[in-house]
């Protein structure tokens, strides 16, 4: 059995082999140039960009990459749900009473010619908030059988298309 000192000496000699490992040819000529180019360009510290590091993680550890992706998607979904909740709080749904007053905002094709031109397309314009709960000057009330006011205020009927009656 060899004394420990001998084994240690052998180990040191073995480790010294690593001194012979060299980088690719020309590396030590290019490195100073790269460093000086970065310094001249005023680059503070050219650390590896986060996306490069992230890419390396994705390449070498796809499971970690997938986990981060899942976390990201989860965060986005959570954000959307929080946003929707906030919108609902700001604009609560109409109560049943309010629901009695139809809010018509879409374009209507009138079929009843009374008071309006048949075949024409009209748009009911919502009253502005400032005019809510004020007496309305109603347009023809027979239109589609709906009472054409919405939460009070005046409603305008604007012709937006269609063909003129013959």
């Amino acid at each position: 059995m060899q004394p420990p000192d001998d084994a240690e000496q052998r180990l040191v000699r073995l480790l010294a082999l690593k001194r012979h490992e060299i980088p690719p040819p020309g590396f030590f000529d290019q490195l100073p140039v790269r460093i000086l180019v970065n310094l001249r360009a005023g680059t503070e510290v050219v650390e590896i960009p986060w996306w490069t590091r992230a890419w390396r993680v994705l390449i070498h550890e796809p499971m970690i990459g997938l986990s981060y992706a899942a976390l990201g998607v989860g965060a986005v979904l959570f954000g959307i749900s929080v946003l929707e909740t906030a919108i609902d709080v700001q604009n609560p749904p109409l109560s049943p009473t309010q629901g009695l007053f139809p809010t018509v905002t879409s374009d209507l094709v009138l079929s009843d010619p009374q008071g309006v031109q048949p075949g024409m397309i009209y748009r009911i314009v919502e009253p502005t908030p400032a005019t809510w709960f004020q007496p309305s000057l109603n347009p023809p009330s027979h239109t589609l059988g709906l009472t054409p006011f919405s939460r009070g205020g005046s409603v305008e009927w604007i012709q937006v298309g269609g063909t003129s009656p013959r």
Binding site: L11, L14, L17, P23, L36, L39
Partner: protein
């Protein structure tokens, strides 16, 4: 005045040895924004800095990135360099800290190891010759395989133990210098070196018989 004939037969005078400016003067010039001086500092120390980082990370690309970052960081920090320690110690300390930070980040993923080539002189290295001599059963030793075994064994050491082995046994940095670089006392360096070598002897026992 010497005649041309005499001058022709007189052996040429040895060229005046080119005196390299010392680190301190190059640092002073670099602090004044002289990039040519800093270029000299880079060329003087890049191989040792790179080698240290490479032996710690076992990856050429990572070592190249960290070496570059080290010198850029050093240049930007030069105004704060007071010169208490030598430039060599100072730049090593930056490289060591950046490498340890990098390894901390890499700890959670499997490192991608790469092997650099062995230079041509390795075949004439007496230590290697002794390792592969006919008196040993390793004369058919494959160098690449040996490199891989060494790297794998080194990677099993803790980062602080590996750093001491790399600096002392591979780079040949004295204990006192390592203590200054790693900001610890010499006893700690010797202790880490002792335990690291013991661990390596166990891991590389078949190469040490």
């Amino acid at each position: 005045m010497a005649s041309p004939t005499v001058a022709a037969v007189t052996p040429a005078e040895p060229p005046t040895p080119h005196v390299e400016p010392e680190d301190a003067s190059l640092v002073l010039r670099s602090q004044g924004g002289d990039l040519a001086a800093f270029d000299l500092l880079i060329r003087r120390h890049q191989e040792r800095v790179y080698a240290t980082v490479y032996h710690m990370t076992a990856n050429h690309e990572d070592a190249a990135d960290i070496t570059q970052e080290t010198f850029i960081k050093a240049y930007n920090a030069l105004p704060g360099f007071k010169g208490e320690a030598g430039f060599f110690t100072w730049i090593y300390r930056i490289a060591v800290n950046r490498t340890l930070n990098f390894l901390k980040q890499r700890r959670n993923r499997t490192p991608h190891l790469s092997l650099n080539d062995i230079d041509f002189n390795a075949e004439h290295d007496p230590d290697l010759v002794a390792l592969t001599s006919e008196n040993t059963p390793r004369r058919d030793l494959n160098l690449t395989e040996l490199q891989e075994r060494l790297n794998t064994a080194l990677m099993k050491l803790s980062e602080s133990h590996r750093m001491v082995v790399v600096l002392h046994d591979i780079q040949g940095v004295p204990h006192e210098e390592i203590a200054r670089i790693m900001d610890c006392n010499t006893g700690t360096v010797r202790s880490r070196l002792f335990y690291a070598r013991q661990q390596l002897q166990g891991l590389l026992s078949d190469y040490l018989k």
